[in-house]
């Protein structure tokens, strides 16, 4: 046996018998909720306006196998859904002492400033911002735009502007340089249509989504951010015969979306704002544009009590295009392709214990357009337990 071979064998043996120790940490949040909405014809109406109880469970399981390598995971479950893995990623921090960290798997998408407010404990309200919740009339699967169906416009069966918590399969790299921060990502889906709910979790688009986020913190307590994403948002298959896009390949159509955001922290006051400009390219060059905004403030009145308010809205562009009509055939349409919407949210929270938060929230929803303004305000009462 040569010396070289002996050393290799020794190395292999050492590799096998050396145990890999990981620092494993499990934490989570659980909510018990009471919800009562008005019973208008609206996508915001919950359980046909009946009073209902609900729950949600978020489990975070992280494993650090070394100073630089860790597994990060979030599991979410609601009372009416199966268990869903939002995040499952391997993170390598400070790669080759470059200051750059890389995360791959199912990652949180670096777009906007939602951050940990996607979780009930950190979210002073009952829901996410309107731009993360509102469902537009643009369908991702059958390439139809149902503006001629007023009922559809209020019930919502299309894509969101921002897809709720914003997770997707992909890879991202991020780091800081002084007061600046940067994040870049490649993902299966896009900001409006993430791949996290796709069949088998695989990419169904004609390409990958590209995401860039830059931020600057000129002084502690003030962060300004800019995000941009570009990529296909429709399924990579030919449109069916009932679509205005019949014979075309919608998977090639891109979404372009940009946002600017600001976070301000001063003592007991937190203020956050974001503005989003979005363009879905559609129907042979016809663009579907949407502008959205959200601004919120939270103030800690006493060690146990906070008050918060948020204003959000989405405005949709006017189009002149062929859209699917009542008989499922393309028909000319001129007008706004979806109803403009606004939401005002008022919330108060009481910290029963350090890890037990009680929230009372009220949402005032307004729609402006062909569908009128349905009665769809929502009362949400939520108790959040963290562990």
């Amino acid at each position: 046996m040569s010396t070289r071979l002996f050393l290799r064998l020794l190395g292999t043996t050492a590799l096998v018998v050396t145990p890999v120790l990981a620092q494993f940490r499990v934490s989570g949040q659980a909510t018990a909720e009471f919800v009562k909405s008005e019973n208008g014809v609206s996508q915001y109406t919950i359980d046909e306006g009946r009073s209902t109880f609900a729950w949600r469970w978020d489990l975070f399981a992280d494993a650090a196998v070394s100073d630089h390598v860790a597994l990060l995971s979030n599991v979410r479950m609601l009372q009416d859904q199966v268990l869903h893995i939002d995040r499952l990623s391997i993170r390598v921090s400070d790669v080759a002492s470059s200051g750059i960290s890389v995360e791959a798997g199912q990652v949180d998408i670096p777009f906007g400033n939602l951050g940990d407010r996607r979780f009930p404990q950190q979210n002073p309200f009952f829901d996410l911002p309107l731009m993360n919740e509102h469902i537009t009339t643009l369908c991702k699967t059958d390439y139809r735009l149902w503006v001629l169906f007023p009922g559809f416009a209020v019930s919502g069966n299309g894509v969101r502007l921002l897809d709720q918590g914003l997770y997707d399969l992909g890879i991202k790299a991020y780091g800081t340089a002084g007061i600046f921060g940067y994040e870049v990502a490649l993902i299966n889906g896009m900001i409006s249509v993430t791949g996290t709910y796709s069949p088998n979790g695989m990419n169904v688009s004609g390409g990958l989504g590209k995401v860039l986020r830059l931020s600057v913190t000129p002084t502690m307590g003030l962060t300004l951010g800019f995000s941009y994403a570009f990529g296909p948002f429709m399924k990579d298959q030919y449109a069916d015969s009932g679509s205005a896009l019949f014979g075309e390949h919608p998977g090639d159509y891109p979404q372009q979306i940009a946002s600017g955001d600001v976070d301000v922290e001063i003592g007991h006051l937190s203020v956050r704002g974001i503005g989003v400009y979005n363009r879905w390219q559609y129907m042979g060059g016809q663009n579907l544009d949407a502008i959205s905004y959200s601004a919120e403030a939270q103030y800690t009145l006493t060690p146990r009590i906070y008050a918060a308010a948020r204003v959000g809205g989405i405005q949709f562009s006017t189009i002149n295009a062929l859209v699917t009509s009542y008989n499922f055939r393309p028909a000319p349409f001129s007008g706004r392709w979806d109803d403009n919407v606004t939401r005002v949210e008022l919330a108060a929270g009481y910290r029963i214990e350090r890890n037990l938060l009680f929230k009372l929230c009220y949402e005032i929803n307004n729609s402006y357009g062909i569908s009128g303004n349905p009665m769809d305000n929502v009362l949400g009462i939520q108790t959040v337990l963290t562990f």
Binding site: M220, G221, E265, I266, G267, H268, L269, S270, T300, T302, P303, R304, R351, E353, R354, T386
Partner: protein, 129 residues
């Protein structure tokens, strides 16, 4: 990031400073019966102060960093001490009598013993941890 010290014994009526030495925000708060306070978010180089006027154990946390935790023991008498680096401690001037001597290790009370103190004599009590 941690609170230093993890356990701080003080005399009733003492004001405690909470300086932020880290290059990010902290938000120190407590919901303890002996003292409720929330200092809000403040940056490195700044400090907030709290006066403790009720005896008891005050559990202190950071709103932003959930793993940060410390205990402040607000005591009614001056008969307490913090061991030195070798683990030695000394409490002077304790009047003769029988007392409960509590030993805190880390952030929690580890052990209590009943101790009799005689006039003009030293009493030795050793804790092992």
């Amino acid at each position: 990031m941690v609170f230093r010290p993890l356990v701080l014994p003080i005399l009733l009526g003492t004001t405690v400073d909470f300086p932020n030495s880290d290059p990010l925000f902290h938000n120190v708060f407590s919901l303890s019966e002996a003292k409720e306070f929330d200092l809000g978010k403040y940056p490195k180089g700044e400090r907030r102060s709290v006066r403790f006027d009720q005896a008891g154990v005050v559990s202190v946390y950071c709103e932003i960093h959930s793993y940060m935790f410390a205990s402040i023991l607000v005591l009614q008498n001056p008969y307490f001490a913090v061991p030195d680096q070798n683990g030695n401690y000394e409490i002077d001037g304790v009047p003769a009598g029988t007392y409960s001597l509590s030993f805190w290790y880390g952030r929690k009370k580890a052990e209590s013993r009943t101790v009799s103190v005689s006039a003009n004599q030293s009493t030795t009590v050793n804790f092992q941890y």
